[in-house]
Amino acid sequence: MDLSCLFRPSSMAVIGVSTSHDSHPANVIYNKNHLRYPVQTFAVNPKGGSLNREPLYRSVADIEIPVDLAVIAVRARFVPDVVSQCIDKGIKGAVIISGGFAESGSKDLQNQVADMAARADFPFVGPNCLGIYSPDAVDTFFLPGERIIHPKKGNIGFVSQSGGVLVDQMVKFAGEGIGVSSAVSIGNKACLRETDMIDWFEQDLATRVIAFYIEGFDCREGRDFIKRAEACSKPIVVLKAGKTARGIAAASSHTASMAGDYRVFSQIMQQHCVAEADTEYELTSFCEALSCYPKGIFGNVGIVSVSGGHGVVAADACGHHGLDIPRIAAATADTIRARLSPEIQQIAALDNPVDLTGSCVDADILTSVRHLSRDRNLDCILALLLPYSPGISADIGAKLSQVARNEGKPLIAYVPKEDKYKIITEGFALNKIPVASSVEGAVLMAKALKRCRPW
């Protein structure tokens, strides 16, 4: 199904714009799109008239040009009529913001809308949702632009059952410098569901990773999700809420009592290479890592550090997250030592973690990463860079990125998050090498890659 009418519309109608309440959701949505997005926006209210010197259309039928997207923010009981008018007008799809459907007991009303739309091949998001945010394209969130924090344009497609969590996660993405291709709150998912979002984002060239916030699936929906996820060529990340075990019916079996809802969910995601993030923080790390490295690893990590302590902390975190720190081959260690600068040749510890000491210079780090990348025992390299060391230059990010690109083995960097080190961070980021702002974050990025095996 082509959903570009929803995610990249060239024209949209906002239905339910109020003539008296400036903060009505429809008004917020109309204003922000009309003023700030490259989409031709029309306000609709049956009373007609004008709003801020722009015409108010009595009905979508009155709009002079074809319309891609309808954003519907009228009371629930009027939604069927409005949807019917949109279909008659030939509008290609809708976001139904309105609440008052299945979530508050009006399942029949929701079904009525869903059936009508299905018959007309009219895709919609919602009801009871925030809808879609596509940077530089469209924003149906009814939150004033000055109040929310927008992540930049990027390559994560984010899908959430909760609008609140979606907005919150967007703040976190923005904080970590992660961008989204689109973010969508699917609400009651009466028409478009998670599986449709996998299909859409898989063919969307702007998206590299598809991330989900999931509270639960409907009957057998989890199986459909897994089948689509398994066939999807892009990495999928999920964050699950509602992990506490629900009661199991009495007189049941041992198996039923042990295979609680969440354990089943978690293990099946793992079985099918879907990376399950434990926390919002992990979700952010996973998205960043997988957007750079979609292929899997076994999880044999080589660590390079300029401080013994950081190496140990990283090794502990690897152990905690199920990653191995194998010994590096003797030949690798010999090759590296022979090429180290004389100042550290005798004092560098060339075990795993590799400790190059605070006296190392850029060239020592490049040499170590280059040759660790060639070690068959390792399939991922963590470089813990502390720019306090005088021998480390501002170019280390860009230079190390070139080594990693050349060697073709995943490199993950840790650089303390400080404005003065931004040039290093950007040196990595611009070359699509993921950078974490903590040692733990770097380890979580490696954990994300272990979601599946290399083939």
């Binding site: 009957c219 897994i226 041992h254 039923a256 295979a259």
Partner: protein, 227 residues
Amino acid sequence: MVMTAQMQKIIADAQPMGWILEPQAKKLLADSGLGIPEGIVTDSFDTAQKFLAAGAGPVVIKAVSADIVHKTEHQAVVTGIQDPDTLAQHMERLLSLKGCSQVLVEEMVSGIEILVGAKNDVQFGPVVVLGPGGTGVELYNDTAIRLAPVTPADVYSMVDSLGAKPVFYGFRSRPGVNMEALTQMVVTFSHQLMDLEPHFESIDLNPVICTPDRCVVADARIMLLKK
């Protein structure tokens, strides 16, 4: 695989009760190719004693009762019976248990106890569960869960994810299980689950007893969906 007429009849007969009695459950599983112990269902001491005499080793007897879902809690299982007198004595006690008019007499198989289970999950449909078996399974809660049907590689990954993994592969000079036999059993079982999907709620094959040669379903409980 398709449901044979016998399978359908077993399920239909058990529907009012909500679960399938062990002898019928085993028949259902054996029909699809799972190994079960040699055994008979009887209320006659004579028949039971003949079964004991004909076999090479000890037998186990179990109460067959619609009122007893969890047999251990009713002391409704006696293992390691070697002589006719003990057999008769225990059989008499089992036949006095609530709802018990017959007992299941089976060859006793010894080996590593494994839980092979299934749940008809609301969100995902049939899933397979594997872990160390026995009466303490819930205490250790050491299980691997996979979407059914599974592949042989899934079965290995399940075993590898268990805390009890060394038990499966053999440790401290004790032999492990026959992984080929276990894999075949779990894969076959997982395919049968897809046929049973409209009917079952959850299944315990606990224990499945695995020796270096084979795996047999020593106990089976199939809970049906309420219709």
